[in-house]
């Protein structure tokens, strides 16, 4: 099956800033693809290039082989949500939708249908300026699906939503995918998208880091368990572990992670060395940590919430399982 979106060697420079650099990836039909990367990694710029809003410095982005601006009736092919604030504040919600529907030569019945779909029928006559962030986001989504498009592009749609809003959004996205639509949804938090996406495209500093399925990413994440130890004797612990050829990775003031270790192995080691332990827990490498690791966040940032001068010998790279 042809991919719904093909991005090939896409690049964009803003002066000296390489916002997007030689980026290539595919988005498959009928699947939700998470477009993930930290803030400033070029997600928004990429999505805007896809939609012909920003001119690429080089490379191409096509929908079934056709660039956005050459699509016949583009809103019937691609729907997009880009920002939560792109409404005229004194225009009524229904009028906003009608203006888009008229421009796209869509029947007025579509306006009623999408208002119904996102649950805004009752407030359709209200001015958008009086809407909450969540309502605006739903109006954006309504606008995006006006033309009943085969592809949906959503840029950080969860930003600023409350937990109910995020739950609603997940249901909405899964429902859209169940209709066979290809959905590309960006986020700087994998955890936000974990339950929603099928595939992931991970970018960092404008470059592709990894394109894979969420299932594969999860199995990578699950493959590296370890033990988390809180102890006042970090230095001695490191020395003892070094004796076994195992490294401890410091993650807090008095906390280390021993990658690859099991409780059955580490417990006796600690008892034998008579090291005081405040806390001993299983460390499951969570998806978010894999994601952070992939997007080049240096290890020291893991402990950034409680930084301290390292009292122990600097931790060497962790043991791999």
């Amino acid at each position: 099956m042809n991919p719904a979106i093909e991005v090939r060697s896409l690049a964009k420079h803003f002066g000296h800033v390489r916002a997007v650099d030689d980026l290539s990836f595919d988005v498959a039909e009928g699947r939700v693809t998470g477009f993930l990367g930290p803030n400033g990694s070029g997600k928004t710029t990429t999505l805007r290039m896809l939609l012909g809003l920003v001119a690429p410095s080089s490379g191409s982005a096509t929908f079934g082989g056709v660039p956005y601006r050459d699509l016949d009736r583009p809103l019937c092919h691609v729907g997009a949500v880009l920002e939560a604030t792109s409404f005229h504040p004194t225009r009524r919600a229904a009028d906003h939708l009608r203006s888009v529907a008229i421009a796209a030569r869509l029947p007025a019945s579509r306006v009623r249908a999408v208002l119904e779909l996102v649950g805004l029928s009752d407030v359709a006559r209200r001015r958008v300026g009086t809407f909450s962030l969540g309502m605006r986001q739903r109006l954006e989504l309504a606008t995006a699906v006006l033309g009943d498009p085969r592809v949906l592009i959503l840029d950080e749609p969860a930003n600023g939503l409350d937990p109910q809003g995020i739950q609603w959004l997940r249901t909405f996205i899964r429902y859209q995918a169940s209709l066979g639509r290809a959905i590309l949804v960006s986020s700087h938090l994998l955890s936000e998208m974990e339950e929603t996406v099928d595939d992931v495209v991970i970018v960092s500093e404008g470059r592709l880091v990894l394109q894979t399925t969420l299932a594969d990413l999860a199995s990578t994440a699950g493959g590296a368990p370890g033990m988390r130890v809180r102890t006042p004797e970090l230095a001695r612990l490191s020395a003892v572990l070094a004796g076994y050829g195992v490294a401890a990775r410091q993650v807090g003031v008095d906390e280390v992670v021993v990658d690859g270790a099991t409780p059955e192995w580490l417990g006796p080691v600690l008892a034998q060395a008579q090291i005081v332990v405040y806390e001993l827990t299983r460390q499951q490498n969570r998806l978010e940590e894999v994601f952070l690791g992939l997007t080049h966040v240096p290890p020291s940032v893991h402990g950034a919430t409680s930084p301290s001068p390292s009292p122990s010998p600097s931790p060497s790279p962790g043991l791999t399982s």
Partner: protein
């Protein structure tokens, strides 16, 4: 294109700014009607002998020229048509609705084309509304004060085409200005600064500039004096209309070129 024009018209009429501008134009027109009514009454008889000229007749506009001036008093409000054109473009950039507009019409020159057409139609409609209001209000006042409603009505066909044309072209010029200066506040300040201050200074300083500036071209095109424009240093009506069209075309082309290239981030 029709669809885009209808969408732009919906967008214009579902926000306050164009209505406020049209309302202001109506108020200013009403004031101008009163001023012309009060200052252009009667006729001037040539002075007999060494005496000064004397006013004769009743104190209301009655010569053909006076009645034309009265009928066309709204013509000074062409600036409001220009501002409606400015708002038609800059509101989209100010509120980022331009993203939605470009998504629906990724070939941007088509969107600008639709805005030019919409603004021209709205400018023309504003002129028609103001002319009609002037005829009604001024005509009733004339009737009440001993003048003739019918005489005023007879002069309307003489001035209406020119005024409608000028309003339409000014709105087009406004779309061009708004596309070049997408910052709404900047575009409005520059427009007002030019038409209310700088143009006057230029005319005062540079001999013969009056006919070349947009207002001079508009005054010629409106042809309220019926061919007497050259007495005021103006072009003939068709030269004025052509010049104004040229201004509109140059600004619109430059504006579309700028908007077409711009990254919308």
């Amino acid at each position: 294109m029709t669809a885009l024009v209808r969408a732009e018209w919906l967008k214009l009429r579902t926000t306050a700014a164009p209505w406020v501008l049209a309302g202001l134009a109506a108020v200013v027109t009403a004031l101008l009607v009163v001023v012309i009514f009060r200052t252009q009454g009667g006729t001037v008889a040539p002075s007999s002998g060494n005496g000064p000229p004397t006013f004769v007749g009743s104190g209301v506009p009655q010569t053909a020229q006076q009645l034309r001036n009265l009928a066309a008093s709204c013509y000074e409000c062409d600036l409001f048509a220009l501002l409606i054109g400015v708002v038609c473009v800059t509101a989209d950039f100010r509120h980022k609705t331009v993203t939605a507009a470009f998504l629906a019409s990724p070939r941007r020159w088509r969107l600008i084309g639709a805005k030019l057409l919409t603004a021209a139609l709205v400018g023309a409609a504003l002129a028609v509304a103001l002319l009609a209001g002037t005829l009604l209000g001024g005509g009733l006042a004339l009737d009440a004060e001993g003048g003739s409603f019918a005489a005023l009505a007879r002069q309307v066909p003489a001035v209406a085409p020119g005024v409608v044309l000028v309003f339409a072209l000014f709105a087009v010029l406004g779309v061009g200005v708004g596309s070049l200066l997408t910052n709404q506040v900047a575009a409005i300040i520059v427009s007002l600064g030019w038409f209310l201050v700088l143009e006057g200074i230029l005319i005062a300083l540079v001999h013969g500039a009056a006919r070349w500036v947009p207002s001079g071209a508009a005054e010629a095109a409106a042809d309220v004096t019926r061919g007497q424009g050259h007495l005021y240093g103006l072009f003939t009506w068709w030269q004025g209309a052509l010049l104004l069209l040229l201004y509109g075309a140059v600004f619109a082309a430059a504006g579309s070129a700028v908007v077409a290239r711009r990254d919308v981030t």
